[in-house]
């Protein structure tokens, strides 16, 4: 019975893969055929043209700023949403409503939000910030609410049993349990948002992505490779710093 089910699973998985491979025109032959062109592409990217370092740096800085502002606004906006999306805080009707809404809106990625906001408020970093806020708020609210649901009621009860006021119970029983987690989630999303903000420029929403796209379109590969190197440096620096801080929080 169990082995029969296992083999059915394997067969279904294999069939799904073969069907998708066929439909997506997966072809080893075409890949091998393309190899010389890929090599040529890489060769033309070298050596990088460092004369564009200034604009690449400005783009990277703007990407960083979009991620900082977007993540910070989302971290605060997600607070009330997190509480009303927590089963142990909100009444059932509210909880189910907010959870479903969050799940639905989370299906839309940052880049798609960016397309929408560029159309709404025009080109530049501002629609980029709005896009980061929109997606990050939804995902942080979900993470916050799960942390709120997992809170240990014991310390809360103990603080309250000492004759503390409601605010004191919140400050000493609840906040110490939640704050490190909230900060950790927010930093983690900040790391992801640097990557997300790096491609916002493709749709006109500011940041380093604009330069990547422009130089690639102009076939200026040495300039494009400089921009990519700057992006890699930015992502690595942010990941390193942020994960260091997160480690110390737990």
């Amino acid at each position: 019975m169990r082995t029969a089910r296992r083999w059915t699973g394997v067969a279904v998985g294999l069939a799904l893969f073969l069907w998708s491979a066929w439909e997506t025109e997966l072809s080893l032959f075409r890949m091998v055929e393309g190899l010389p062109y890929m090599a040529d592409f890489l060769r033309r990217m070298f050596p990088p043209d460092f004369s564009v370092l200034g604009s690449a740096g400005r783009g990277a800085l703007q990407t960083l700023q979009i991620a900082v502002v977007g993540t910070a606004v989302a971290a605060v906006a997600a607070l009330p949403l997190g509480f009303v999306a927590a089963r142990n805080v909100a009444p059932a009707w509210l909880f189910y409503g907010v959870r479903s809404l969050l799940n639905a809106l989370r299906a839309i990625d940052t880049l798609v939000y960016a397309l929408f906001f560029v159309a709404a408020v025009g080109l530049g970093p501002f629609p980029g910030v709005l896009a980061v806020v929109a997606y990050t708020t939804m995902i942080l609210a979900k993470l916050y609410s799960e942390a709120i649901e997992a809170i240990d009621p014991g310390p809360v009860e103990a603080v309250s049993a000492a004759g503390a006021t409601r605010l004191q119970v919140l400050r000493f029983g609840v906040v110490p349990q939640l704050l490190p987690l909230f900060i950790s989630f927010t930093l983690y999303r900040f790391e992801t948002n640097i990557r997300a903000a790096a491609i916002l420029g493709f749709v006109g929403a500011g940041g380093i992505g604009f330069y990547i796209q422009t130089y690639l379109r102009m076939l200026n590969y040495p300039a494009a490779s400089t921009v990519l190197l700057v992006l890699i440096a930015l992502v690595m620096a942010v990941d390193f710093t942020s994960s260091r801080i997160r480690q110390r929080l737990v």
């Binding site: 310390p155 009860e157 309250s160 049993a161 004759g163 400050r171 000493f172």
Partner: protein, 247 residues
């Protein structure tokens, strides 16, 4: 004095934890509440400081009704009672000292406490009480790095700095190594004898109840089946509390 009048607790839909319990516990007594699990021991203890709201009946603390009190008046009554939990219930990531200071929250200015600042007097008291439970050198360690027995002593220190009239302890050694039970029970006895603080503790083992309790209150199925001195506990009474057969 703590007085319990006709206390009944029903957990919805129809689990009866306490049935018409009446007791008077005079100041300075060391009382143990004994009974099998599910007898209502924890419910009774938790009703005494308002952690659980009774379905019927009344709790009087030094003549004032806890059941009727609201807001500020209620917090004042609750603050007079220290509570020691089976699972310690410390705030894991705060320091030992900060955990003890939680016991001062009802005594200090509220706004100031919210920024984590405590008057010098309160910090001195917390230090002194930590020294008394033998943990002075661990004051700045994170609470969750301590052993179970040490954590329970921090919890007792937290209750002590409330400067309470009564300490309620809910199976204070049930999550600890048997060897540590005595350390915790001895500490509670010393607090009772030296400070004159009333101690009421629930236990599920008879020998500790007989050894430490001046008074033993036997519960079974939410009813008091024995209430008297440890000396008066006969085999028949032990059987009435723990024995087989319908209760």
């Amino acid at each position: 004095m703590i007085e319990v009048r006709g206390l009944t607790k029903v957990y919805p839909p129809n689990t009866v934890a306490l049935r018409d319990v009446s007791l008077k516990i005079p100041d300075g007594q060391f009382a143990t509440i004994i009974g099998p699990s599910g007898a209502g021991k924890s419910s009774l203890l938790r009703c005494l400081n308002g952690l659980v709201a009774p379905t019927a009946g009344e709790i009087l603390i030094d003549g004032e009704s806890l059941t009727a009190a609201r807001g500020e008046a209620r917090r004042r009554l609750v603050a007079r009672i220290g509570f020691v939990f089976q699972q310690f219930n410390l705030i894991k990531r705060l320091s030992v000292l900060d955990n003890v200071l939680v016991g001062r929250l009802s005594h200090v200015p509220e706004l100031r406490s919210l920024v984590g600042s405590f008057p010098r007097r309160d910090r001195v008291l917390a230090d002194a009480v930590l020294a008394r439970v033998g943990l002075a050198e661990l004051a700045h360690r994170r609470a969750d790095t301590l052993s179970g027995g040490q954590q329970q002593r921090v919890a007792i220190a937290r209750a002590l700095v409330q400067e309470p009239r009564t300490i309620l302890a809910d199976e204070p050694m049930a999550s600890l190594d048997p060897a540590l039970s005595r350390t915790i029970m001895d500490l509670l006895r010393r607090i009772n004898e030296e400070d004159g603080i009333t101690v009421i503790t629930t236990l599920h083992v008879m020998d500790l109840a007989l050894e430490y309790g001046q008074r033993v209150i036997g519960l079974r199925n939410g009813r008091v089946v024995y209430d008297g001195g440890a000396a008066g506990v006969t085999d028949e009474i032990v059987d009435a509390i723990f024995g087989g057969g319908a209760g």
